[in-house]
Symmetry: C2
Subunit: 229 residues, 2 copies
DNA sequence: GTCTCAGAATTGTCAGACAACCTGACAAGG
DNA sequence: CCTTGTCAGGTTGTCTGACAATTCTGAGAC
């Protein structure tokens, strides 16, 4: 696996060509529209309408919808089409519980973790706090905040666990897109994360764990409260 | 959510019609062929060949292949087609490490877990040991063995974690299909699992955890050794 | 032996079509 | 009033056929 900061995967390891298929671009555009709030949760994603609206064929749209369904951002019912998922309180609870399992596993391995991975956590935190200081857009802040949490899972060194965490984060972004007004909390959370990393740097894993747990529980509660209203 | 044993979702809650699409049946048939050993790992899954061989159209095959790729059973390279994944030692290690995180999380929650979930573990174990006693087929034994491990993850009560575990198990089945000769170990493992559940019933979670860890590490080693040959 | 290049094979995407199915409404009958 | 039968409209599931882009293959040139 390529580590961060332009590792040398051969002479041209840093090069990367965006080999994006039409299907992938379609899926990405749908994701953006969902997270941006252009498409409300629950709305039907009609194949023909999307096809002519995006200028692609129906099979392409269909395949892209399959991706979204696999990611949990939408649900497909036979002969009834696919609809954007509506985050229920139950699913938010489940996502947060799963998050705690994955991120906790990462934090528990802080000491044994590869220094590169520990560094990745620091970088993710810095990217987030910088964006907060620069008063970046709401979506950018969200992405960086969640990227930090994923970097915690990265401490396990397991690509599959990271992939799972990224999927969970996608669902969380969907839920957050429903409750834009949490944006003002983003700044407060920056301090919380700094404190967490400080505990880790002091090798106080147990304290970091319980700190993380309460942080995740707080997030769960605040999202559910915002949704329930 | 409907609980087990014919819950009353209205007057006809126990009824359930299998709503299987052609795509799903195609994917299932491919999975069967892979796990059964009809298709070796690494072989190319050509769309037209599969289409006329299965009596379905190319788009249908294509969509089914997309499912397999999403499950990790196959890999797709742009313009080069999809091939059955070849389990590397690295990926087996990763799957087992991820398994440890998920199953460990389940075991850790043994005491707080819903009695139904604890019962599900007992039932999964019994189904497995019964099959071992009846000298069932190799694949059936494998499925039941892995189903037991998934039932441990079920202790978390998180559908998403269970889904992740099921995905990992699929990859493991792919690896095991490559090394049929581990079959004779299945009987020995039954005793191991009985011992694990006995520790749980005694509420000795810590002992169960370390027991599980060594069991998973043993499995990892034996699979990798068998693959490496 | 290595390089180059035309042709075959395969995938990615498209257009059009049809059957199966869901939804809603309306009439018929208890 | 409530249930059932029927029909029209729209949507999905699947098929057929096609074409461009890309990759693989093998023969010929140096």
């Amino acid at each position: 696996m390529s580590s961060s900061s332009a590792a040398a995967d051969g002479p041209f390891g840093s090069l990367h060509l965006e080999h994006t298929s039409t299907v992938e671009r379609t899926a990405e555009e749908l994701r953006r529209a969902i997270f941006e709030g252009d498409i409300e949760s629950g709305t039907a994603l009609r194949e023909v309408a999307l096809a002519e609206s995006l200028g692609v064929s129906r099979p392409t749209v269909r395949e892209a919808l399959g991706i979204l369904v696999a990611e949990g951002l939408a649900t497909r019912e036979p002969h009834r089409g696919v609809h954007v998922s509506t985050p229920e309180a139950d699913s938010v609870r489940d996502v947060c519980r799963a998050r705690w399992v994955l991120e906790g596993a990462g934090v528990r391995r802080w000491r044994e973790a590869d220094p590169d991975l520990r560094n990745a956590v620091h970088e993710a935190l810095r990217a987030y706090t910088d964006a907060v200081a620069a008063e970046d857009t709401y979506q950018a802040l969200n992405s960086l905040h969640l990227a930090f949490h994923v970097s915690l899972v990265g401490l396990t060194g397991s690509p599959r666990l990271v992939a799972m965490a990224e999927n969970l984060v996608l669902e969380l972004k969907l839920a957050l897109a429903q409750v834009e007004r949490i944006a003002r909390n983003a700044h407060d959370q920056a301090d919380t994360h700094i404190a967490l990393v400080r505990l880790l740097d002091a090798d106080d894993v147990d304290a970091a764990l319980s700190f993380l747990q309460t942080h995740l529980e707080d997030a769960e509660r605040s999202i559910i409260r915002a949704l329930g209203h």
